[in-house]
């Protein structure tokens, strides 16, 4: 676990900074500091949290925000299944599984026979502390900001989603899915309520899936 904590420490500044970004941006969706911190502590998944806040801020409503966030987190089901055999004890399993994020899974060798649960736990705990702590700092900073648009927070949102998308652009299928998702959203924005274009974009996974390669 100590080795995991050491590996996680190298990612701590990034987790804290991204958490702070989320904390500031949460303000645009009228999340108070406590709500932003509780969300980071319980959800502990960057993209989904920023997506939920984005949909709420655009007036998409609770249902669309929750569906968009949970669809983004749907990947944690197969990720959890891929490391399921390493966990023991029902209550312990429930608690430890909450440390699943892309980084803790990948750095511990998830999906390979060499998965090391102690590294997973170490990385997960360090990142959780950075994520929640960063959120707290960002949320308090966000509350001190008057008009979010004066600081370009809406443009910062778009930039953050580009950065998150860039981490996903490995392989032809993902690029096809992303292109399709962007096209669907652009076509639907004029005709549907805010939030609907985001959820409808998931249809693009079929285009990426049927493409061989």
């Amino acid at each position: 676990m100590r080795r995991g904590a050491r590996i996680g420490a190298s990612l701590f500044p990034a987790a804290a900074a991204l958490g702070a970004s989320f904390g500031v941006l949460a303000r645009t969706a009228h999340l108070d500091a406590a709500a932003a911190i509780v969300m980071s502590a319980t959800t502990f998944a960057g993209s989904a949290q920023v997506a939920a806040v984005s949909v709420l801020g655009a007036g998409g409503g609770i249902a669309a925000a929750v569906i968009a966030a949970l669809l983004l987190n749907a990947r944690y089901a197969p990720i959890g299944i891929s490391i399921a055999q390493s966990f023991r004890g029902s209550v312990l399993k429930l608690a430890q599984s909450q440390l699943v994020v892309d980084e803790s899974w990948a750095l511990a060798g998830g999906g390979t026979p060499r998965f090391d649960k102690r590294v997973f736990l170490g990385v997960g705990m360090v990142l959780w502390v950075g994520w929640v702590g960063g959120t707290a700092v960002g949320a308090l900073l966000g509350q001190a900001i008057g008009d979010p648009s004066a600081f370009g927070l809406d443009g910062a949102f778009a930039a953050l989603f580009i950065a998150l998308l860039a981490t996903q652009m490995r392989g032809g299928r993902r690029i096809v899915a992303a292109t399709g998702g962007a096209a669907i959203a652009a076509l639907l924005i004029p005709f549907t309520a805010p939030g609907v274009p985001i959820i409808a974009a998931t249809v693009a996974v079929l285009a990426g899936w049927s493409r061989t390669g």
Binding site: S21, H30, S47, A77, I81, A159, A182, A204
Partner: protein, 102 residues
């Protein structure tokens, strides 16, 4: 309860279930490869849609405005492999600057 808190609690509970379902419920089995491949494509599709909505969307219309400056600077920052926090800061700063000048 406010809309924001309801969303926070629902996303938190739903995510906890998604993370726990493997270790707690399906220990020893695995999803079909095709299902896993499909689920892996959800994140790029949704994030790309969010880029479009946050860059151009304004209610029910597509409006090009100062946010595009943030998008452009953000793309450059990502291409230069800047860390997340820096992409966010320069994206916000570029948007605020263009808004201030226009």
């Amino acid at each position: 309860m406010t809309e924001a808190w309801a969303a926070v609690l629902a996303v938190g509970a739903g995510t906890a279930v998604l993370k726990a379902v493997g270790p707690v419920a399906v220990s020893g089995r695995s999803l079909p490869d095709r299902a896993t491949a499909l689920l892996e494509l959800l994140a790029p599709a949704i994030l790309a849609a969010l880029v479009v909505v946050e860059s151009f969307g304004s209610g029910r219309s597509l409006v090009p405005d100062a946010r595009l400056a943030g998008v452009g600077v953000g793309i450059v920052a990502v291409a230069l492999r800047a860390p997340f926090w820096l992409v966010v800061v320069v994206g916000g700063a570029a948007t605020a600057l263009v808004r201030l000048l226009s």
